[in-house]
Symmetry: C2
Subunit: 155 residues, 2 copies
């Protein structure tokens, strides 16, 4: 394992730990602001979450099955309860699909959503970065709404 | 390299790529709002940047030299020009210090700032996550100020 800083399992744990923190943000987010509150013309938190659901599972399925996928970023949930159910279902699928991808493929090139070309592991780190980025924005929304966000370092 | 998803050099590149994106945010941030604009009682962007400068180099020095460090999060810059100079100087130091840490040490436990105990590589991923998190918040500040942030995927 020379040169290995993060192996396959460790990266998954970092990713899942971050998804747990985002789940906490969903839990404290006010239901009535899910599709309404916004700052500076940005998307509301519901639509940011829809994006965070639209990317990982369809991407992993696409990679596992070597098939194209469509990026469908519209919310398929109407409230927090439905969102949390989708969030938890996605976690199970992420674990299952991720584990099906052999390490040898992590350095392969893969075209995601017929648009984003890159090495598979770079797609994965991008998913993580994208989630942290939007969750950081959600922290501002929460603060602006007078609600204390969860501790950032809790996973 | 079995199991290696991200090796030492690759992780550094991800980190530096993210610092480049944060630099772009600093570049477009309005000078006159650096220490004033805030949302929901949060810190202004200048203070967020001060934190992002306070952590990596002192941590890496602490690890390289096996010495305690103090967390000093107050801005030591008065404007964007000075901030950008510190940002670029920090990049050079990060590269130099990071490269001095042998891979064997990445799994060692290390107490940072006399407070944060953890495995060295987990400290590093936390630095990355923390920067993405605060930069995500800065994107909201920019949007609220009517300024277009840089493209998130540019590195």
């Amino acid at each position: 394992m020379s040169n290995a800083i993060f192996n396959k399992q460790e990266f998954l744990e970092i990713w899942l730990g971050n998804r747990k923190l985002t789940r906490r943000v969903i839990e404290v987010y006010p239901e009535n602001e899910l599709f309404s509150f916004t700052i500076g013309g940005m998307r509301d938190f519901g639509h940011l979450c829809a994006e965070l659901l639209a990317i990982p599972v369809p991407s992993l399925k696409s990679i596992v099955n070597n098939k194209d996928a469509e990026l469908y970023e519209k919310p398929s949930f109407a409230n927090k309860e439905e969102l949390l159910k989708l969030w938890d279902a996605a976690e199970k699928e992420i674990i299952d699909l991720y584990n099906q991808i052999p390490e040898e493929r992590f350095n392969d090139q893969f075209l995601l959503f017929k648009t984003y070309d890159g090495i598979i592991k770079h797609h994965f780190i991008y998913f993580l970065e994208n989630e942290i980025h939007h969750r950081g924005q959600a922290f501002v929304y929460l603060r602006a709404l007078g609600i204390e966000p969860p501790f950032f370092w809790e996973r």
